[in-house]
């Protein structure tokens, strides 16, 4: 292509017009094939979003068309200042067509070369999904038709005015969310067409009028006297608090999801201190979680006799936190000299060592080896006639933990120590030159983070009433890291958002469990490339990361 563009300038110009569109189409085709072969489409094909009409697998397929059609239109518009509407629509349609051609090629070629012997997901179910169950010739035409139409429609979405586009987008996103919530939490079976339309209209309208309404409300708020403003804010917080307290009443299953999310928030708040505040990338964070859980197990379970004590969960809790904090200091000392990458690898090594030791036969008499420790008492033991499940009650324990952790994190962040951490994070040498005691600052970060991790480990042990070494592998550390990075490193509300998005959503979608880490990996890369400051960024961090942009 480059050779021809040198010799024939005219062809080059028309090439410029077409090539971005085709490039986006090819990229979209590759993404679509990837999604098909990795099995995500078929895994979600049985999760009905609009009953009898469309499944989540198909929605993901369609969103590839939408995403790339939209991008194509965007590029087309960016290339020419006054791009005609028709050209934008055409590029969306072409992109959709290219993507569906890729998929059609897959459907035709894969059975012929027995692709399934290598790619296990190149199965008849996949081809059925891609051809809408209509068989090879007919289904492929339908697929192409869908590609062209959806591509053009999403290009049309791009052409809508800003406010309307955002509202329509929100409406489209709302349908699967409402349906998934309905299915997972209330044991429904998706939603029917009428409900879907209602959800779409409601979400669109609400979003459309939300922005101006909020602006007006803000204006009226700031016009009020300070005292009344404060009363309003307090009322809002009280209502929010009551709402949070009422959450477990949704039922035992939602409460279990909330517990998991809550534990991740708790751990995230701790890791956030180490990584977000002090900038020390700790990949062995799960070690302290394990230590906390095992301390509880050893002190409370009747199975472990060598220590000669048997405490209740609450009596053992301080010891668990203490052990975690001490371990944080002890593991912190040898790594004081290390920075960045080395610190990450060494802490990762620590985490693995702890897990392997708990797993080995060597310490089996002390910590149960691969059998773990069972019969750990719950934090709050309910009677047999209790109206609520253990998980529902545990939520309040976790909530208390989160409040304590959030309080500690907030207070520390704006303390002298917090400023020392920020200095350390930005430049260790300069921080030292400014008279900051690096040893104390680093150890403080490790100790606080480890203590909070041990606290969540203790609650975790009580949640499962047992501990096993395999619960404490590296993936937990990576999950928490993903949570705080998506939320925004160093941002406390960010941790909550990150945990809700990354832990809550997959819990709702059980079929999705296999692909969870795949998505985490992709999300980590994507966030680092496009939005390193996270969803709810902390102000200072955002400045740090974007100071390059202005230079």
């Amino acid at each position: 292509m480059t050779a021809s563009s040198v010799s024939v300038p005219l062809a080059a110009r028309s090439g410029n017009r077409w090539s971005p569109v085709i490039k986006i189409g090819l990229l979209g085709g590759i993404v679509a094939i990837y999604l098909a072969l990795v099995g995500i489409l078929t895994a979600l094909a049985n999760r009905m979003i609009v009953t009898g009409v469309i499944s989540l697998g198909q929605i993901i397929l369609l969103s590839v068309f939408i995403l790339f059609g939209y991008t194509a239109a965007q590029r087309a518009a960016a290339k020419q200042a006054k791009a005609p509407v028709a050209w934008c629509l055409l590029s969306g349609a072409i992109t959709g067509l290219i993507i569906s051609l890729f998929l059609s090629a897959l459907v035709v070629i894969a059975p012929a070369i027995n692709l399934r012997s290598i790619f296990i997901n190149a199965s008849p179910e996949l081809f059925e999904l891609l051809t809408f169950g209509l068989g090879v010739p007919t289904g492929l035409f339908v697929l192409m038709g869908v590609g062209v139409v959806v591509g053009a429609l999403s290009a049309g979405l791009f052409l809508l005015p800003d406010r309307l586009r955002r509202s329509v987008g929100m409406g489209l996103v709302a349908i699967p969310i409402v349906s998934i919530l309905n299915t997972s939490l209330f044991a429904g079976r998706g939603i029917d067409v009428a409900q879907a339309v209602a959800v779409f209209i409601a979400a669109t309208v609400i979003t459309y009028f939300w922005q101006p309404a909020r602006a007006a409300a803000n204006q009226r708020m700031s016009a009020l006297p300070t005292k009344q403003q404060r009363i309003l804010a307090t009322t809002a917080y009280i209502i929010l608090g009551i709402g949070v307290l009422a959450l477990p009443l949704l039922g035992p299953y939602p409460a279990e999801i909330l517990d998991t999310v809550g534990l991740y928030i708790l751990m995230g708040l701790g890791l956030n201190i180490v990584v977000g505040f002090a900038g020390l990338l700790d990949l062995g964070y799960v070690a302290f979680f394990a230590l906390g859980a095992y301390t509880i197990g050893i002190l409370t379970s009747p199975e472990i006799q060598w220590l000669g004590v048997q405490l209740s969960w609450w009596q053992a809790l301080p010891f668990a936190v203490l052990v975690g904090t001490l371990a944080g200091v002890l593991l912190g000392i040898p790594v004081l000299q290390m920075r960045g990458d080395y610190l990450a690898i060494v802490t990762l090594g620590f985490g693995e060592i702890i897990r392997l030791i708990f797993l080995s036969d060597w310490l089996k008499p002390l910590v149960g080896g691969s059998n773990g420790i069972t019969r750990i008492p719950r934090a709050i033991q309910l009677g047999d006639d209790a109206r609520f499940s253990d998980q529902q009650v545990l939520f309040y324990v976790i909530l208390a933990g989160i409040l304590v952790a959030a309080f500690i994190a907030t207070r520390l962040k704006y303390s002298r120590m917090g400023r020392n951490w920020a200095a350390l994070r930005e430049d260790e040498d300069v921080a030292q030159a400014m008279g900051i005691n690096l040893v104390r600052t680093k150890l403080m970060a490790f100790a606080t983070g480890a203590g909070l991790s041990a606290l969540s480990g203790a609650i975790f042990a009580s949640k499962l009433t047992s501990v096993y070494p395999h619960s404490f592998n590296l993936l937990v550390s990576i999950n928490i890291l993903a949570v705080i990075i998506v939320g925004g490193l160093g941002s406390i509300p960010g941790v909550i958002v990150g945990a809700l998005v990354l832990v809550g959503l997959p819990e709702l979608l059980r079929e999705f469990a296999e692909y969870r880490l795949l998505v985490y990996g992709a999300v980590l890369v994507f966030m680092m490339l496009k939005r390193p400051e996270g969803l709810l960024p902390e102000a200072r961090r955002k400045l740090e990361l974007h100071e390059m942009d202005e230079a």
């Binding site: 072969l37 000299q337 693995e352 392997l356 795949l518």
Partner: protein, 353 residues
Amino acid sequence: MLQKLRRRVTGATIAMWIIGFAILAVVVYGAVSTLLSAQYSPSTWVDLIIFGLAQGSVYALIALGYTMVYGILRMINFAHGEVFMAGAFVGYFIATAFDKSGFLERYFIVAQLLIFAGAMTVSATIAVLLERIAYRPLRRAPRLVPLITAIGASFFLQYSFRGFFGSGVKGYPEPEQLKGTITFLGISILKTQALVIVAAIVMLIALYTLVQRTKTGRAMQAVSEDKDAAALMGIDVDRIIVITFLVGGALAGAAGVLFSTLFRQVFFLTGFIPGLKAFTAAVLGGIGNVAGAMVGGLFLGIAESLFPNLVLDGLGIPAPYQLKDALAFLLLVLVLIFRPTGILGERLATKKA
């Protein structure tokens, strides 16, 4: 004089040295008591050392990728273990196809070469794509950013492979030619282990020639010394970085084939632990140092194969093999604490890092 010394030797340093000597004493005690008990015959030790050499040469091949990338970009390519895993998978698929058609045994050498070629091509492609998509845009970002990207890429690749090829453990075929042993200098060696060692040596020599003798190799050295100065001397730094990833990826792909020949199983987590160990090997030898990666790999391979029997047995720890992996990580931690320069390297862990 004494005051100066006292200022330099802090309490923490002394504590570290005490811990170091305590560990050393335990190791020596364990080794001596095992040897005195004479529960293993000399030929067992020889077997263990040869197995260690084979395993170590795989580590060395992977470690080269870490070390070369670190030398040039000062970043740990966390996803390198997955590049290696990709090589193992490609090798497995080609070898199985060849095995089914009988090609693997009829034209053994051609088949092996084709397997290596396929695995190395795919691995190198993945490594280059990784650089292009995930790392290049972040070259000027704060240090934590590319590392987190690399971790994300690593998990993305691992679980993509799981999605593509399933989560089961796949058995790598073993052709007739690799069964049994050969005798070399009076020592009988398993043929698979011999193949792994020879192939690794060939590859290491090829790499050494590339880096030391060719123009590209010298350009790589220049870039790793000083990127900006190299650019001023007319070296296309981007191109050299791509070549580094390409070469490192190809070596990892070859290592993948060798690893599956040795252990005869492939699955999506294959790359994780060997990747970490290879990184340990790179640090052991002195990261950024090509010869160091080779030495470190062999050292780690042998240590890992000898240590459980030699030391842990003597200490009376049951089932010492379970702690094999913990040993590698412990070694990593100890090296970084006591000799961050590694065996052959310059001090990087605290200075440039």
